[in-house]
């Protein structure tokens, strides 16, 4: 992967000046490349990784993985149905899968009822959906490469030769 992308993927707050410093190029060149990535849709947006279990002011979001079996449409295959499903704001991810089912839909809700409601009243009744299996996530350990726990203390001696 491009080095600028690699750096930004780890830390989106790196400034073009800092990236330039790390890669030995100029801030102007880095800015230009980033602009191009943004324009081409390679960089879609910049977000923050939040450990929601530690956010005290609201209830923890519930997340479920839903296996969906569908009957593909004649012309548009699975895309037609996938597009209808991922439009729902409750859906945080949607993948076409190999194996025993077709679509994997990740759904987030305030609580278990919102999610079941979504499945029973929106997803399952959709035309061409042949069946669903819902798996609730009980605990998150690691997400998108990030371990959901505060960084461990540096165990090294503070100084050594």
């Amino acid at each position: 992967m491009n080095e600028i992308l690699e750096i930004l993927e780890k830390d989106a707050r790196m400034t073009p000046e800092e990236i330039a410093r790390m890669t030995g190029s100029s801030a102007r060149a880095v800015k230009k490349t980033i602009k191009k990535f943004e324009k081409d849709g390679v960089i879609l947006k910049y977000k923050t990784v939040i450990n929601k279990e530690l956010v005290k002011d609201e209830g923890t979001d519930v997340r479920a993985l839903i296996e969906v079996k569908v009957t593909p449409k004649k012309d548009t295959g699975f895309n037609y149905l996938a597009e209808r499903i991922y439009q729902f704001p409750e859906v945080s991810a949607c993948y076409l899968m190999s194996g025993t089912y077709d679509l994997l839909v990740v759904v987030e809700g305030k609580n278990i009822h919102t999610v079941s409601n979504f499945v029973s009243s929106k997803l399952a009744p959709m035309e061409n959906v042949r069946g669903t299996v819902t798996h609730f996530i009980l605990k998150k350990y690691k997400e998108d490469g990030d371990i959901l726990r505060q960084a461990k203390r540096d165990k090294r001696e503070a100084i050594s030769l």
Binding site: E18, M22, G24, R156, A158, I159, S160, L161
Partner: protein, 385 residues
């Protein structure tokens, strides 16, 4: 108790006092650490855990497990085209530190002189002395970027000179050598009939050109003791595992001392090292890329705030001049620690010739480095911020 005169005469480490100062202070950003900030890759840790579960808790052969020696032989062949016989030309040691100790003890006869280029790693001189030799320090000039030249060697050589130590990429300067530069050094070594003790522990962390292993140079294999290990490139410092390769007569002598002192390297560490060689390539590559970025960041940052710094070719150290501050290395380090809580190592820890320099380790996250640079800048010109 009555103690050894030889040991008494080894000067106490002048840096210890400063170290204690650092260790006694809280919330310090440390750029003074001589080991990776990565933990050992999980597959390596897991292999060691599994080996303990499987009951690998015994001694191994003195030289180390034959399987590991074979893996090392294979690795050196693929990486550098080196051919060392796993049976009698490779010795597994408790880190390169032990390997170095064995090497000097195996070659020194009382009074032999050993050339130690300065800046040097702290243990070289004392270990040569303990082995009954006489360390002769070659002061390398900062004007030449602290690089050893063939001329330096010739200048310091006399009839009693037996060997030379070269550590590249270097701790503390990060300096390394191209094949061409090493060839020039090899020529003098041949001419003066010296033994080379080549400490290449940072060899895998070379950023701008391919690392050349010293024994691959013409006629050097038979006069080189090649030292390497897992500490730096695989982030395995605490495992204490390294190795020495060389002609079988010298490895036999080193093994003799090793078997009476260490007996063998810990079997768990040997099992971990096997996994490192088998499946560690990607981790090395990833860590190296990260170090390289930090190097660019640190070096340009230091130059910008007025601490001139050569771009180091390897390891994870920068060695800037602090002469602009008007302070001695030690004063600079102490005041920076007290005022801004940034720790680094005064150059004089690596020899008196390094007065006016400090060692900055970039085995630390970019955010730490960033914050440290801000603080050093504020320390240098308090009015500007």
């Amino acid at each position: 108790m009555r103690t050894s005169k030889l040991v008494q005469n080894i000067p106490p480490s002048g840096i210890r006092v400063f170290f204690d100062l650092v260790l006694g202070m809280k919330d310090v950003i440390s750029l003074g650490i001589g080991e990776p900030d990565f933990v050992t890759p999980w597959n390596i840790r897991e292999a060691a855990i599994f080996s303990i579960e499987e009951g690998y808790t015994s001694y191994t052969s003195n030289k180390g497990m034959i399987e590991l020696r074979k893996d090392i032989s294979e690795y050196l062949k693929n990486r550098y085209g080196l051919g060392y016989d796993p049976l009698d030309e490779i010795l597994i040691t408790v880190g390169v530190s032990e390997a170095f100790d064995l090497a000097v003890r195996a070659i020194i006869n009382r009074g032999d002189k050993i050339l130690v280029p300065e800046p040097y790693y702290v243990s070289y001189g004392p270990l040569v002395t303990l082995a009954g030799g006489k360390p002769v320090f070659i002061r390398q000039s900062p004007d030449n970027g602290f690089k050893l030249t063939p001329k330096d060697i010739l200048k310091y050589c006399d009839g009693k000179t037996r060997a030379i130590i070269l550590n590249y990429p270097n701790n503390p300067t990060g300096v390394s050598y191209t094949r061409k530069e090493l060839n020039a050094i090899a020529k003098v070594i041949l001419k003066k009939n010296l033994i080379m003790i080549s400490d290449e522990i940072y060899g895998d962390l070379t950023y701008d050109f391919d690392h050349t292993a010293f024994p691959t140079l013409a006629k050097m294999r038979e006069r080189t003791i090649y030292l390497n290990g897992f500490s730096k490139s695989y982030a395995m410092t605490g495992w204490r595992i390294g190795y020495a390769c060389g002609p079988k007569d010298v490895i036999a002598m080193m093994t003799k001392i090793h078997q009476y002192t260490m007996l063998c390297a810990p079997i768990m560490s040997q099992m971990a090292a096997r996994e490192a060689l088998k499946n560690g390539e990607k981790s090395i590559r990833d860590m190296k890329r990260e170090y390289k970025r930090r190097r660019e960041y640190v070096v340009s940052g230091l130059n910008e705030i007025g601490l001139p710094c050569h771009k180091p070719e390897g390891a994870f150290y920068a060695f800037p001049s602090i002469k602009n501050s008007g302070l001695s290395s030690m004063e600079f380090a102490k005041r920076l620690l007290e005022k801004e809580r940034v720790a680094l190592v005064p150059g004089t820890a690596f020899g008196p010739a390094c007065e006016g320099y400090v060692r900055i380790s970039y085995a630390s996250s970019i955010s730490n480095i960033k914050e440290a640079l801000i603080r050093i800048k504020r320390f240098l010109c308090p009015q500007s911020s």
